[in-house]
């Protein structure tokens, strides 16, 4: 009683620390996607014995998340970034959630991919996997990814990373085949190490700036020691570079992404690396721009080597999904190229590319899953003649390969265009060369895959000119659930590629907000102390 009396007596002595009013009901939309995913995941865990309802309930939950996120996206597009601080504390004391256009857009793409993967999985599931909690894990993974996209607090970002990590561990080993254990050991250790490095960076940034709120950090950093901040930025670059599988630290991705079920690897390819990329964009461009300028040669080197080496890796693989893993890595190189070009056009290119990569890479893995079902093989040497067996699959694969390579009029062309334009603006000819060479190399690697899987009549060796007798027809369930969901996702990709205006505008606004953080800071509502 006494202290509260004192507080009201001298209001001028301390700055206000709490909001007196409740949050407007409409603003809860900001944390609703995470709440729905967490609650639905927990509920499904409790109801794990009633197997009949699991898939339907999970799909409904993700549908609800998509609806909320579309609404959130429109609101952010119309009125600018939206923020909310937990427990009515004022920032920087409470944990802040912020949706800017980049976070909201990525979160929306992530939940769309999750929905498609859930439908695809209906053709794949075996009861054993359901018992081990596939659906709760997917929902928790989505909660982690969405939380990471929407949080405005660095330590909270770490927590969401760990939520994502532990559910991805579970999904990685679901089914328990030997090859999955092998992949999971490499995936698990290296990703855990990466988040630990992230934690080291967090500790340093807290010690030197005294805050973990992103908006607050971007205000405090200009006054902090530039050398120390650059060291911290380099730590974050290492941590998130590992998460994103950029070139020198990419080895875990092709070692593990082909081991789980196709639906799970599609989910991973779409969501996990992109969260690392998102965190890097946020930290390098919005929070520590001065350190980014110092690290610019490093970013350029990573971008160029990743762009060039990844498609060469894909060329050298015979395992289909391992080859696709290298194409995922190539996309990460394109995002790094945008980070090395800190103008609006370059950063918008990076954001657009990450968005495109979420959709396209998931779709590629889903189509790879279909191919593996039709050919009953995982190695391209044992595939062949699928063009005659299934034209939808071959058309989808070709569209996605062209999209990944960045050929017009598909979705991947537009971000590559922005990146090339940014490189010309900055007279950065090395990056321009790497971006264009990546397109050529990716289309070579991709069309070779297409030729071997679809065009060649039979399997490799002496049967190559004979009809492939190992092909099987898709069952009706596979046809409707698996192939249908893949067609839906490819349809979305083609449509967005033909009418890219909304994504262009959004990527431009997102890049603007990253490069000048004023709108973000205003939304969070941090008082600038003179």
């Amino acid at each position: 009683m006494e202290t509260s009396h004192n507080l009201s007596d001298s209001p001028g002595e301390l700055p206000a620390a709490m909001l007196e009013t409740a949050t407007a009901a409409g603003d809860w939309i900001l944390i609703l996607p995470v709440i729905i995913a967490l609650m639905a995941g927990a509920l499904l865990l409790v109801l794990r014995h009633s197997r009949g309802y699991q898939s339907g309930f999970a799909i409904l939950a993700v549908l609800a998340i998509i609806i909320v996120e579309i609404d959130l996206f429109w609101r952010v597009l119309e009125t600018g970034p939206l923020a909310m601080t937990m427990g009515n504390w004022l920032p920087p004391f409470g944990i802040t959630f912020v949706a800017d256009l980049m976070g909201a857009g990525f979160a929306l793409a992530a939940s769309v991919v999750t929905l498609v993967v859930l439908v695809f999985f209906q053709a794949e599931i075996v009861p054993r996997e359901q018992r081990h909690g596939f659906y709760p894990l997917v929902l928790l993974l989505l909660a982690g990814v969405t939380g990471a996209f929407l949080t405005g607090d660095l330590f909270n970002l770490y927590v969401w990373f760990e939520v994502m990590l532990i559910s991805s561990f579970g999904l990685m080993i679901i089914g328990g085949r030997k090859i999955q254990l092998d992949g999971a050991v490499k995936y698990g250790f290296l990703n855990f190490l990466a988040t630990t490095f992230f934690l080291v960076g967090l500790g340093y940034i807290y010690g030197l700036t005294g805050t973990l709120n992103m908006a607050d950090i971007s205000l405090v950093v200009p006054a902090a020691d530039a050398g120390a901040m650059t060291a911290i930025a380099a730590l974050f670059l290492l941590a998130f570079g590992m998460k994103a599988a950029a070139f020198p630290v990419n080895a875990w991705l092709p070692a593990s992404y082909h081991t789980p079920d196709a639906a799970v690897s599609a989910l991973f390819a779409g969501l996990l690396t992109k969260v690392g990329v998102y965190a890097l964009l946020r930290i390098m461009i919005a929070l520590l721009p001065a350190s980014r300028d110092i690290l610019d040669p490093v970013l350029t080197a990573i971008a160029v080597s990743t762009l060039l080496i990844a498609p060469l890796g894909a060329l050298a693989q015979t395992n289909l999904r391992r080859a696709l893993g290298f194409l995922v890595i190539g996309g990460i190189g394109a995002v790094f190229a945008g980070m090395a070009l800190p103008t609006i056009v370059g950063v918008a290119g990076a954001i657009f590319y990450a968005f495109h990569s979420i959709l396209t890479m998931s779709a590629l893995y889903l189509v790879a899953g279909l191919i593996e079902r039709v050919t009953q093989a995982t190695d391209t040497r044992h595939m062949g003649g699928v063009y005659a067996a299934s034209s939808p699959i071959s058309i989808m694969f070709l569209i996605l390969i062209f999209g990944a390579a960045g050929l017009p009029p598909f979705l991947g062309f537009w971000p590559k265009l922005l990146l090339a334009q940014g490189a010309i603006e900055n007279s950065d000819w090395l990056i321009l060369f790497a971006v264009l060479a990546n397109s050529i190399l990716t289309s070579i690697a991709g069309t070779r895959l297409w030729a071997h899987i679809f065009w060649r009549p039979g399997r490799e060796g002496k049967f190559s000119e004979q009809k492939n007798d190992q092909l099987r027809r898709l069952s009706p369930l596979e046809k409707w659930a698996a192939q249908g969901s893949a067609i839906a996702l490819v349809g979305i990709i083609v449509l967005v590629g033909l009418f890219p205006n909304l994504v262009f505008t959004s990527a431009g606004i997102s890049a603007q907000d990253l490069l000048s953080t004023q709108r973000y800071i205003d939304a969070v509502g941090i008082e600038v102390t003179p």
């Binding site: 202290t3 090859i179 015979t318």
Partner: protein, 126 residues
């Protein structure tokens, strides 16, 4: 001042952890991961500045805790990190044990199922 005395310990933790993680044996890598986690927790603790043992409680009648009070935030951060790190470590421990049972290998050099040792050459056709 205490910070400077404790900093070398963080360095020692990191050195030991990195040495162990670079090993081929999964069980050593696990030990390295644990030690690394402890090193990071100590680092966060030191970054929050070590101060005399004054609890961060606002005395009756005052508006703010005394200047000497301990910083409670790093402790909250470390507590979170310990819980999360322990959960992930437990998972990796079980994973390592299962991998040892199924793949009959504690040596990562022998874990070549996902990445076969003599990988076939890429197809030469087309």
């Amino acid at each position: 001042m205490t910070e400077f005395l404790m900093a070398p310990f963080v360095g020692a933790f990191f050195a030991a952890a990195i040495y162990l993680i670079l090993s081929r044996s999964v069980i050593r890598m696990l030990l390295g991961i644990t030690i690394l986690g402890n090193g990071v927790n100590l680092l966060i603790f030191i970054m929050g500045r070590v101060s005399p043992e004054v609890p961060p409680i606002v005395p009756a009648g005052a508006l703010r805790p005394s200047e000497l009070a301990a910083n409670p935030l790093p402790q909250a951060l470390i507590l979170t990190a310990i819980v999360i790190g322990f959960a992930l470590f437990t998972f990796l421990l079980v994973l390592g044990y299962r991998a040892y049972q199924e793949l009959d290998a504690d040596n990562t050099d022998n874990m070549r199922l996902a990445e076969p040792k003599n990988a076939p050459r890429p197809p030469m056709s087309y």
